[in-house]
Assembly symmetry: C2
Homo-oligomer: 421 residues x 2
C-alpha cells in the first residue's frame, strides 16, 4: 500500500472509532481514587503542559483556589508562594484521559465524572461544573467560590454517586451519545449551548435520584443547582468527547487530530498517528460578547479542554444546529451556519449519529484532518467562554476563536518526518 | 374614523391582547367542576358543531369510548345506540373556553387542565394527553385505552392536582408562555413537536411533585408516563393558546381569526369582530407520513382543536423554528421554513415573544387576518396528527393540511354585511 492509502485506511478507522464509541456515565469519584499515582502535590490543568511562571491569570487563579480547596494554603498569597517555589507538579488532563473546561484544574480531592466507553473500553473523566460567572475554572477563588466547591464535594458528589449507582444497576449507567445527538435536534451544539442536553440529562437522572432515597432537602438542593445551571452537563459531554477521541488516538498513519486544547497561554494539539506528542503555539484571544462591565480588553487568551467537543465532531462545528447560541457567543445565525459549512472542508467525514436538521439532517463535520487544514489554510473555529485575564475575577463573556495555523503546520512537518512525504 | 382605520385599530388591539395574554396553569379539575351546567348527557368535542349522524369515524369512536368511560354504556354497541337515538347533547369545546386535540371529546368526569390568563382574566381548559397510537382522542376505545383513562383519572389527576397546588402556593402556578417561547429556541414549534416544551414543563413540575409528598411508586408512574409522552404538554399549550386567542376575540371591527378548528367532517373558524358565529366548510384530508401498516387511504379528514396553536402564532406557523419536525410530519426542512415565510403574508404582525432563531430571531407570524387570506388566496397551513377514518383504530400518522379558502370568503362576506364594505 502507498503512504496515501495507509493514511486513508488509518483515518477511516480513526473517525469510525470516534463515531462508534459508546460513552456511558458510570460513576463519580474523587480524582485521587481514579487517577493512578495522583498525589497531593500534583495539579492537573487544561491545555498543553505549562509551568507556573508562564501561566495566565485565570489558570493561576484556579491553581490558587485549588490549593486552598485542598487545605494546602490558607490564603491566596500562601498558595502563590507554594505554586511558585516549585512544590507542585503540573500536568495536562489530556495525559490522564481527562478533559475539563477553562482552567480545568483538578486536584486529588475534587469529584470527577467517570465515563466508560462500552465499545472500546476506554475511561475518560471531567470535573463538576460550578455554573457561570465567578467560578474556579475561570480563575476566581473568593469565599463564594470556595463554599460552592465545598458543597459540591460534601453534598452534590455523594448524591450523584448514589443516583449513578442506581443507574448502573438499572441499565449500566447513563448513555451520553444519544443525549448529545438529541440535543443537536433541540438547538444545542454541545459546547456553549447545553440548555437541552442538561434537561435531557436531568430527565434521565431524576428517577435515580428518587431511587437513591435522598432526604427531600438534599434532593431539592441538588435538583435546583442542576436545573439552574445550563452548563451542568458540559463537563459530562466533554468527558464523553474525550472518550470518543481516545478511540481515535494512537492509530499509526492517521492524520486526524485527537486533542485540540489550550491553557490560556498556549494552544496545543495531538495527532492520532503521532501519539502524545504536543504541538503548541500561542493561544489567540477570542472575540466575544461581554458581561456588563467588561470589554474585549479584559479577555484572556483562549483557555480550556472544551474544544474536545469540536475534536469529536460537535460543539462549534455543529453551530448550524444551534442558531440561538449567537445570543451567547455573538455573531449572526448566518455565521453559525457558515462556520459548520466551512468546517466540512477540514474534516474527514460527516458524523453518522450527530446530525443537523437545518442542513437536511446532514452529519456534523467530524475528524479534523491536518492535511486538509494545510491544503485549505482553514483552521478549526470554535466557540468558547472568555476568562478575565487577571486571577480572581472569573468569566467575563463568551465568543469565537480560531486555532493558529502553525500548530497544524508543525504537526504536518512531524508527520512527514515520521512517515515520509 | 374610516372603516379601514377602525379595522386597523381593532386588529392592533386583537393581536396585542393575544401576545400580552399571560396563560398560567393553575389547577386540574374534573370537567363537571369547571364547566357550568355540564350534565351527564353532554359531550364536548373538537371543531364546529356537528350531529352524531355527520360525525366521522374517529369522533364517533371517541364518543363511544367516552360513554363507556362515564359508565353510561357497557359496550360499544350500547354506546352507539345511546348516541344515535339523540340522548346526548353535543357541543364544541370552543363555545366553553376549551381546545382539545383530535376528537377532543370531554365528558363530565374527565380531568382537565385549567389555564388562567393573569393579564385579561380569562380561563381556558384542555383535557389530558394519553400519548400516541391507540388513544381515545384518535377514536380508539379498547381495554388498553379505557384502562389508561381510568389510571389518568385515579392517579395522574390527583398527583397533578397536588403538585399544582404547591406550584400555586409557590408562584401562582406554572407560566406557559415562557415555556413555549423557550421551546421555539429548542427545535419545537408547539403543535406536533413538544419534545423540548414537555421537558421544560417537567423540569418545572418535578419540585412540586416532590413537595406534594406522593408515595414513591406513584411519583415514578406519573413521572414515567409524562417523560415517555412527547405530547404530554400539547394540551397545556393548546389551553394556553385558547386563553391567548380568547383575549383577541369579540373585538368589534377586528378581522383577526380567533378560532380555527375541525371536527373530522367540517373545518370551522371564528372571526374576532363577528363573535361566536361559525363559518364552516368540508374538512380537507391531510397529506402525511404514516405509521407502518397504514397509508393515505386510511386517513380521516382533518380533526381537532389543536390548530388553536397556529391561531395564536405558533405551531405550524413556527415550523422554521423546528426543522426536525419533518421527520414526524413529512416534507423537507426547506418546506418548513417556506411555510413560516408564507404565513407572514396572511398574518397581521410578528410575535413579540415567540421568535425564530433561524430567521435571525424574527417574531412568528401572528394573527390570521381574513383580509390578507382573501387578498393573497393563501390559507393557513398547519401540521396535524392523522386519525384512521374508522372508529376504534386510532392514530395512523401525521402530516400537513391547508384550511379551505371558502371559510375565509364566507367570513369576509359576513364581515361586509355586518360592518359595510
Amino acid at each position: 500500500m502507498s503512504l496515501k492509502e495507509l493514511i486513508e485506511e488509518a483515518n477511516k478507522k480513526a473517525v469510525e472509532n470516534m463515531m462508534e464509541a459508546e460513552p456511558v456515565l458510570v460513576d463519580v469519584k474523587l480524582a485521587k481514587d481514579f487517577i493512578p499515582g495522583f498525589k497531593s502535590d500534583m495539579i492537573l490543568h487544561a491545555g498543553p503542559p505549562i509551568t507556573w511562571e508562564r501561566m495566565s491569570g485565570p489558570l493561576k487563579g484556579a491553581v490558587i483556589g485549588a490549593l486552598m480547596y485542598e487545605g494546602l494554603a490558607d490564603t491566596p498569597e500562601q498558595a502563590e508562594k507554594i505554586a511558585s517555589r516549585g512544590d507542585i507538579v503540573f500536568k495536562p488532563n489530556h495525559e490522564f484521559g481527562g478533559a475539563c473546561p477553562m482552567a480545568g484544574v483538578v486536584t486529588p480531592n475534587m469529584p470527577i465524572y467517570i465515563i466508560h466507553d462500552k465499545k472500546f473500553g476506554n475511561y475518560a473523566y471531567s470535573n463538576f461544573n460550578e455554573g457561570i460567572g465567578k467560578v474556579l475554572r475561570y480563575g476566581a477563588y473568593d469565599k463564594e467560590v470556595m463554599d460552592r466547591l465545598k458543597w459540591m464535594h460534601d453534598e452534590l458528589f455523594p448524591a450523584l454517586k448514589a443516583a449513578l449507582h442506581e443507574a448502573v444497576k438499572d441499565k449500566g449507567g447513563i448513555a451520553i451519545k444519544p443525549l448529545i445527538a438529541q440535543g443537536l435536534h433541540m438547538g444545542d451544539e454541545g459546547h456553549n449551548r447545553y440548555i437541552a442536553i442538561t434537561r435531557l440529562f436531568l430527565i434521565e437522572l431524576i428517577p435515580y435520584l428518587i431511587q437513591a432515597d435522598l432526604p427531600k432537602d438534599v434532593f431539592m438542593r441538588v435538583y435546583t443547582f442542576a436545573k439552574n445551571n445550563n452548563f451542568f452537563t458540559l463537563n459530562i459531554g466533554m468527558a464523553a468527547a474525550k472518550a470518543m477521541t481516545m478511540a481515535a488516538h494512537n492509530i499509526k498513519y492517521s492524520t486526524i487530530v485527537s486533542v485540540l486544547t489550550r491553557n490560556g497561554t498556549d494552544a496545543g494539539i495531538w495527532v492520532s498517528g503521532l501519539g502524545n506528542r504536543w504541538f503548541t503555539a500561542p493561544a489567540p484571544v477570542p472575540k466575544g460578547v461581554f458581561f456588563p462591565g467588561f470589554t474585549q480588553d479584559d479577555a484572556n487568551p483562549d483557555i480550556g479542554d472544551s474544544s474536545i467537543t469540536e475534536t469529536a465532531g460537535f460543539g462549534g462545528f455543529a453551530m448550524a444546529a444551534a442558531p440561538a447560541i449567537v445570543s451567547w457567543v455573538g455573531g449572526s445565525v448566518q455565521f453559525a451556519v457558515e462556520n459548520t459549512k466551512k468546517m466540512y472542508q477540514i474534516t474527514y467525514t460527516k458524523h453518522k449519529y450527530f446530525t443537523i436538521p437545518y442542513l437536511e439532517f446532514q452529519g456534523t463535520p467530524t475528524g479534523i484532518d491536518i492535511r486538509y487544514v494545510l491544503k485549505t489554510g482553514i483552521t478549526p473555529t470554535i466557540n468558547t467562554g472568555i476568562a478575565h485575564k487577571k486571577p480572581g475575577v472569573g468569566q467575563v463573556g463568551a465568543g469565537i476563536v480560531s486555532f493558529p495555523f502553525e500548530l497544524f503546520k508543525d504537526a504536518f512537518k512531524a508527520f512527514v518526518e515520521t512517515y515520509g512525504a
